[in-house]
Symmetry: C2
Subunit: 286 residues, 2 copies
């Protein structure tokens, strides 16, 4: 089977972890019934986007990777439905806290941990207060249906991350997300640039991309949804609105994607010997 089918989930999330798990679980079931094999919930779907403010109490939301109840819950659901689920969660690891993710395969097995590499910081998105920048490096997940590259939210703006995952053999790039309007600058709507950055990755790597975002107003911070799936030339083939709860789905053919990616020649023509500047912070090679 060369074809794989991916769905992105979009929903508002509230202060009740149980209700959120129930809501996301319901959407996973609906997407699976519709034929989705790889089902992507939004980032940190267990609760409201707590990074809106810098609040010591919110560290209590974190839990260790080992024995994490949300991972256990969705691993069981993945096994039951025979679907792959990337699960975003707030990880406590010793004295460090990470914005983390695991992918569970369609047999419920855990394919391992990724910790968000790029951590944003700004009004309404105070992630540097909570998360240590990830130390796992970029990785891909070889699942029963496709090899997935998974970045987390802010990672999606970085061409380096998309390129690295594609070099590692990703067949699609997935990004669980929590993004909305800027509380301090209400006219600055980042929805179009947000999609364009990922569509740029799709084209430049000749690979489909999918992003799942939350919706709803969380105390004045309006999340804009617009979860979407773009094909390898950057055409949006599925998209949800700014306020729609549900899922969007698309199918891709791995063999056709591979042939077209080779034919474009981007990976034939790269010049790593000229890319030393990318290893610098400030454009100065030392």
């Amino acid at each position: 089977m060369s074809e794989f089918r991916v769905a992105v989930l979009q929903a508002p999330l509230n202060a009740s972890r149980e209700e959120n798990i129930e809501k996301i679980g319901g959407l996973v079931r609906r997407a699976a019934e519709a034929g989705a094999q790889i089902i992507l919930p939004p980032e940190l779907f267990e609760g409201p986007y707590f990074c809106k403010v810098e609040e010591e109490d919110h560290f209590a939301l974190a839990a260790p990777y080992e024995g994490h109840p949300t991972i256990a819950h969705f691993s069981e659901m993945a096994r039951e439905l025979g679907v792959v689920i990337p699960i975003s969660f707030f990880e406590r690891a010793g004295q460090a806290y990470y914005n983390s993710l695991v992918v569970v395969d369609a047999d419920g097995s855990d394919l391992g941990l990724y910790r968000k590499s790029h951590i944003p910081d700004g009004p309404g998105y105070e992630e540097k207060f909570y998360f240590r920048p990830g130390n796992t490096g970029f990785r891909v997940y070889k699942t029963q249906f496709a090899t997935l590259g998974v970045g987390i939210c802010w990672d999606q703006w970085f061409p380096e991350c998309a390129r690295a995952m594609t070099l590692l053999g990703a067949e699609i790039l997935l990004y669980p997300t929590a993004i909305g309007l800027e509380p301090h600058e209400p006219d600055f709507d980042t929805k179009d640039p947000w999609q364009r950055a990922m569509i740029g990755h799709a084209v430049a790597n000749s690979i489909p991309v999918a992003a799942a975002n939350r919706i709803g107003d969380e105390g004045g911070q309006a999340f804009y949804g617009s979860s979407f799936i773009a094909d390898a030339r950057g055409d949006k083939v599925a998209e949800l609105s700014r306020d729609e709860e549900g899922f969007a789905m698309a199918s891709f053919d791995r063999e056709a994607l591979r042939a077209r990616r080779a034919s474009w020649g981007f990976f034939r023509d790269r010049r790593p010997e000229l890319y030393g500047l990318l290893m610098t912070e400030d454009g100065v090679e030392r």
Copy 2:
């Protein structure tokens, strides 16, 4: 003066070098009269896109960088009009041939050579037959009006190139281009992916981009124009049609661009220590 104004030129080109120089020169003058300070002609504007076929005779079109007549001609025009012009040309250097470019500043001075780093190859675009991959590395040009990052055509598809030029201090990215339909696959229109890749660079680096393409049918190869300028959030602020001869122009404020780029935080949050994969050809770190 914090503002700078850039124009992209678009025209059909024929077998007469003199007519092409005259045509491009006329457009440079018109753009300068309209207030443009940085004026970008398309790639290899001295003639038809000779890379359509692999033909030994076409090597005779190359000439050395030193004393190149087209560079001399446009340097004089740059000085006369007080404008900056990136000049694309087919360079012969000893036994090597490059797809090259110089930028002449508004006083007519030559700011140096860049040789196209990424060389395409495929039906209708047989560049690997002609050009050795460039050995200059990526560079930026500090002109009287702005610091320019200039890539050449196929370079525009590579996020590494855009990122490197922005790291070096580019305030806008410019791409002279020759791209059209695929003679072997007429339904495969690359115009949208072509623009999307560059718009992705604009967003991911928070920097404006501009591309100048040719138009016209050259023996069954139809160049699709669509030259454009996008702002730092990827909005197309100026664009020419698929068959329009002329120029498109836009203004940018360097200080505003710099402030917004800093505020986005992409260059604050990059993780070069995780980017070792980008230095590989095949995703295997050795």
